[in-house]
Amino acid sequence: MIRELPPAYKDIEPLIRIERLPTIWCPACGLGIILKLYTKAIVKSGIPPEKHVIVSGIGCTGRMAGYVRVDSYHVTHGRAIPFAVGIKMAKPWLTVTVISGDGDIASIGGNHLIHAARRNHDITVIVVNNYIYGMTGGQSSPTTPSGSKTMTSPYGHIEEPFNIPYLAYAAGASYIARWTVFHDIQLLNSILKAFRTKGFSVIEVLNPCTVFSYRNNIDMLELIRYFRTRAIVKRDVKFEDLRIEFGKPIIIGEFLHRTDKPSFEEKYLELKKKIGGG
């Protein structure tokens, strides 16, 4: 049984349920890096851990809640966002973060994503995009790039994927960023910024997946190198140009940060005050 972590992790150790390590994630999966970054962000946020809540859905990323030592909820497939919204509305002083996968958030949870963005709920949604449904063996997801092979697209995927930043933008989000899991410093800063943003924050994290690599006959370390080296950081970019295409460079960066839109919780609080419910 794991009893302690290397000294470099002393600050995040109290925030990780180390009695449950090693994690169930595949060797080389970047979810472990996200675990480190999210807990680091909690430490650096200045918000006490008792005020942080994590909600995750079903899938590999969904297991994230089980490893973080804050109030953590591992709910049903696609429904992390409304559950998180419920917690936030009941206790608006809590910092509520959803960490879930591309299938969970953009497929079955797609409707909840766009409405939560529309209402501008003050929560952070970290969408870990591995382009596939990894946990269940490798089916296509709404972010699977055209042409790639999955268990449900064995001849090459004939669908076009979602452009998640564009979707979030159209729906009304306040903060939108996309990084790969290897752009750890930028990702950490984005999570911190999302915590501070009063409104709906969406951070898409591109994560190489062993199941995806296997289905597409790519060596996993090769896929990792592709993510690290073929991702280009761009600042002024049109949302339409953020599509992900197999073989082309991936555009990452911070794409939107609005501070002019009040969050749903702010507006509801105002309404309550006005009507007399304090």
Binding site: T76, F83, K91
Partner: protein, 385 residues
């Protein structure tokens, strides 16, 4: 408290009475989605929640609504949603989650004629089985069967208490007639309204690591809300006493048996029913909800003509007071149980489960339509000989 309905007598629509009862019971989180014939309840909540300092939100669909209510409950608020048959069907997976996470929540189902879109504006009694078996796997819920607006009012308060006490989803199976008719509602003195809160952990957050959140020797674990500092973990996966995912046979047995025993071992405390004209009854009609109205009228008329017929009126569908049915059956006095419901046979099967001696007759009804008193009288005359 001054913002709540003052003690007295009112003339209210059932849906409104239900909403006011919820507020009196301490409900401060409502998430819902419009569906005939429950929408008035939601409209009322939209207006009242900001007044009492609670949370109101219209979700994008029923699934969002129930999940938001569960989030509110996880954060410690008494939470509620209201819907009808089709919405309850959509909510089933989330009801299973509520049972698994042991989150108190009240779901009001103003039943309408089904299946599917059915007749949205007419009553139904088709969700009885759905309330118990709607989600996958083994779990127990509590489901109430009010039959008048006053009963809907009283039962809603009780529903919150039951949800809090047993950490269980509670479904109030009303129907369109009870929900949308006006009735006299007596609101008691607020001091007379007994409220139950969920059990809190006995130990402070710092001692959490030594504590077993779900000590399976206790049927109902204490509840730590989000933001209370306990840093709990809740998962829909099979879990052990620590709340962590544990897929072993031992964990599976311990958890699932506890989830069902919570209710089954307290069935006699939770179940409610009414017995009318039982003393000399040789024939017993089993009816519930708005059907008990015309049934009562028919029984009155039948008794005037000498028929020894009584009424057994379950007020909880689940747990069903089967032991009382069995007792009445074993007494040898009751010759026939006549189950009259507006569906193709739901409580009928449950009654059959408990009756060995008497005959059980099934009187189904076209969804949407209350059986008329005259027709019920003719059944009594036909069967009670």
């Amino acid at each position: 408290m001054s913002k709540l309905l003052k003690p007295g007598t009112y003339f209210l629509e059932g849906n409104i009475a239900c909403a006011e009862a919820a507020l009196l019971a301490g409900c401060r989180f409502y998430a819902g989605y419009p569906i005939t014939p429950s929408s008035e309840l939601m409209h009322h909540m939209a207006r009242r929640m900001p007044e009492v300092g609670g949370v109101f939100i219209q979700g994008e669909d029923e699934i969002a609504s129930i999940m938001m209510a569960l989030g509110g409950s996880a954060a410690g608020l008494k939470s509620m949603t209201a819907t009808s048959g089709p919405g309850l069907s959509l909510m089933q997976e989330s009801i299973g989650l509520a049972a698994m996470l042991e989150l108190p929540v009240v779901i009001v189902d103003i039943q309408r004629a089904g299946p599917s879109t059915g007749i949205p504006t007419l009553m139904g009694q088709g969700d009885i089985m759905q309330a118990k078996w709607g989600s996958h796997g083994d779990y127990e819920v509590v489901a109430y069967l009010p039959s008048t607006p006053q009963e809907l009012f009283d039962i809603t308060i009780e529903a919150f208490n039951t949800a809090e006490e047993y950490r269980v989803p509670v479904i109030v199976l009303a129907d369109k007639i009870i929900g949308q008719m006006y009735g006299r509602i007596k609101v008691p003195d607020h001091s007379e309204i007994k409220l139950i809160e969920r059990k809190k952990p006995a130990i402070p957050p710092e001692k959490y690591m030594e504590y077993l959140p779900y000590d399976s020797r206790e049927l109902i674990p204490p509840f730590a809300a989000a933001g209370d500092g306990y840093r709990i973990h809740m998962t829909g996966l099979m879990h052990d006493d620590r709340g962590y995912p544990n897929l072993s046979q031992e964990a599976s047995w311990k958890l699932v048996t506890r989830l069902v025993r919570k209710i089954r071992e307290n069935a006699r405390k939770i179940a409610k029913w009414g017995e009318h004209w039982i003393d000399d009854a040789e024939y017993l009609i089993v009816a519930y909800g708005s059907v008990s109205g015309p049934v009562r009228y028919a029984i009155k008329k039948a008794r005037e003509e000498g028929y020894k017929v009584g009424l057994f009126r379950p007020l909880t569908a689940w747990p069903f007071p089967g032991w009382r049915i069995k007792e009445l059956d074993n007494s040898g006095v009751i010759k026939k149980f006549i189950v009259i419901e507006v569906n193709m046979g739901q409580i009928y099967h449950v009654v059959r489960e408990y009756v060995r001696n008497a005959e059980v007759i099934h009187v189904p009804g076209a969804p949407g339509y209350l059986p008329e008193p005259q027709r019920i009288l003719s059944y009594i005359k036909k069967f009670c000989r």
